[in-house]
Symmetry: C2
Subunit: 340 residues, 2 copies
DNA sequence: CTGTTAGCGCCTTCAT
DNA sequence: ATGAAGGCGCTAACAG
């Protein structure tokens, strides 16, 4: 029942049209090898006329390089990954590579991630950027001697893997320090489960550590994921006597603000609230979140550049690149407010 | 300088390892054709042992179908496209297809979009979903008899193209009607340029129309893009005497709220504000935006399903699928407030 | 049920 | 500078 689709023209069709051999066409179109100006001209006209588009499969099959890098992302609906993707795309494009992205709809489970990874490898990508805080490194290792790999967004020390990530400990420490400077004595930290996100856990852990380091006792509210912050805060805010709530993401910080709002309270008058991320739609002056900005774009750009350097043999070294973010002083954190 | 990368094993290696012919291997691994349980067993063991991953290029070259659909998106940093991507990914996965996404970093210009489109075609995708409100249909047409195409997010009437989109006129009308019901007499509409976004323009236009239809005069503030709403509102709010501002997106609605906040005002007490989209991080009860929700997930899912139906020859018909969203009554719109 | 054979579209020596 | 020929890894007819 399908409408007859015109078979895509091949170099043979062009060769016939232009009255030259297929190798001449190949040379003219790929830019490799010598061709006379006249031949090139004829070939190009024929190609345009027939609407020729090279078959990347056939090309990749013989040349065993596809000028394509595979990117495995955890979940595109999170601004972090969306921005990462965009930054990578741009960086790759600048160096003449194409990006093929694989994601699972929801959070990528290990099995899904592996399948996606195999698909990418199957597509003969020249390199791989893996950014899925959940995929254990053991699963990645089997691929490292088949294709260069860069892990983005988390520290990865396996031999043969370069990783680019943000120093979560630094961010958590800086934020906690900021609140301590503001005079807060009793601070709640919403701590996400390690299994859910290494990064969220790391930054929260650093906050806790920093608060302890100055002799104060943090109030730790464990949550499975940052999306459950609302529930945790609602349940435990009363009587906790905290003057500040530190959240693992900007999204959960907004949730915290909502809990306060429902009680007729607001930040920072009644309680200080901090987030973490500093990008995306929530990064708006209207909300004015006090948060820590992750250098997403830089992570993306750096990842791609290091990967392409590896692919092109410009370097043989694995590296650990740790990027730092910066504190954003918004309006949701203030000096120690009156205690209830 | 590159570390020697182990050549990927081919079916020949597996055939040797398993002691069978390469076609037996092909049959066993691809699931096509009959194979004895014993052979299959041997082959699978060998494949696992050697870490075999099929070469999608070779496979696609001969079978001329790749079980891959290409998706061209305008800009991944916008939640709309990110969510669309995710929904498509999920739908495709459910039917055994892989999604290859192409985007430009910034807004996809026509030239970029075309290049990306060619790349996708070059990869021999079995079908294409195009979602770039800017790419003129003339540019798409040349591809329609090479590969099935679905346009997502905008109405497209060219022969051979199925399109799935949201009824922006309906959304704009519903929102405007809502405000009129609330008693607003003088309403500002922030209208984005048609060249920038057909959708944003269409919904704004519908708002204007609806307001006129009941004999009132809308105050139209033209902007090049929704991202410039802050400037436009700041410049023109004073003395405009409006009691409500209708914005083309939720992002710009938040910008409007910020303009009010800087004047010590707020919605809906001093001025009603509405957005448009109803998804992503801004869709949070804390903001409580009165807005119109676009059925992004549904657009994505439907697009993929229609595309795959076309690919698999289940249908030969082009369709125009118009989906409807729904009004979200938040807290930023209220009854006619006191006039200043 | 299995092995043999012929390409898929392209690039790449090798002659010319 | 150009054409002829071989093969990349795989599937899909064929025979057996």
């Amino acid at each position: 029942m399908t409408r007859a689709r015109g078979k895509a023209p091949t170099i043979l069709d062009i060769a016939a049209e232009a009255g030259v051999s297929k190798s001449a066409v190949s040379r003219a179109l790929s830019g490799q090898g010598e061709v006379s100006a006249e031949t090139r001209e004829k070939v190009e006209r024929a190609a345009r006329k027939l609407g020729y588009v090279a078959n990347a499969m056939a090309r990749g099959l013989v040349s065993s390089q596809t000028k394509t890098v595979g990117v495995l992302l955890r979940d595109m609906t999170r601004p972090f990954y969306a921005l990462l993707q965009t930054a990578m795309q741009r960086a790759a494009e600048d160096r003449g590579y194409q990006v093929v992205t694989a994601t699972s709809a929801a959070d990528l489970g290990v099995a899904d991630a592996l399948r996606a990874l195999r698909n990418l490898v199957s597509l003969q990508v020249d390199g791989l950027v893996v950014s899925s805080a959940r995929l254990p490194s053991e699963e990645i290792v089997p691929f490292i001697d088949r294709v260069p790999i860069v892990v983005a967004g988390r520290r990865e020390t396996s031999r043969g893997i370069t990783s680019v990530f943000c120093d979560d400990a630094d961010g958590g420490t800086v934020l906690a320090e900021h609140l301590l400077q503001l005079g807060h004595e009793r601070i709640a930290v919403v701590l996400a489960d390690e299994a859910y996100s290494l990064s969220q856990y790391a930054r929260g852990f650093a906050m806790v550590e920093r608060i302890r380091a100055v002799g104060k006792t943090p109030v730790v509210w464990h949550v499975a994921t940052d999306r459950e912050a609302t529930q945790a805060i609602t349940d435990q805010l009363d009587g906790a006597g905290v003057t500040a709530i530190m959240c693992p993401t900007d999204g959960s910080a907004v949730d915290a603000l909502e809990v306060l709002r429902q009680r007729g309270q607001s930040a920072p008058e009644d309680c200080t609230v901090t987030g973490y991320d500093g990008f995306g739609p929530l990064n708006t002056p209207y909300l004015g979140l006090t948060t820590f900005r992750q250098p997403v774009e830089e992570i993306g750009r750096t990842s791609i550049n290091l990967l392409l350097d590896k692919i092109e043999g410009k370097t043989d070294q694995d590296r650990l690149v740790e990027l730092r973010g910066s504190l954003i002083e918004g309006r949701t954190a203030g000096r120690l407010p009156r205690l209830p």
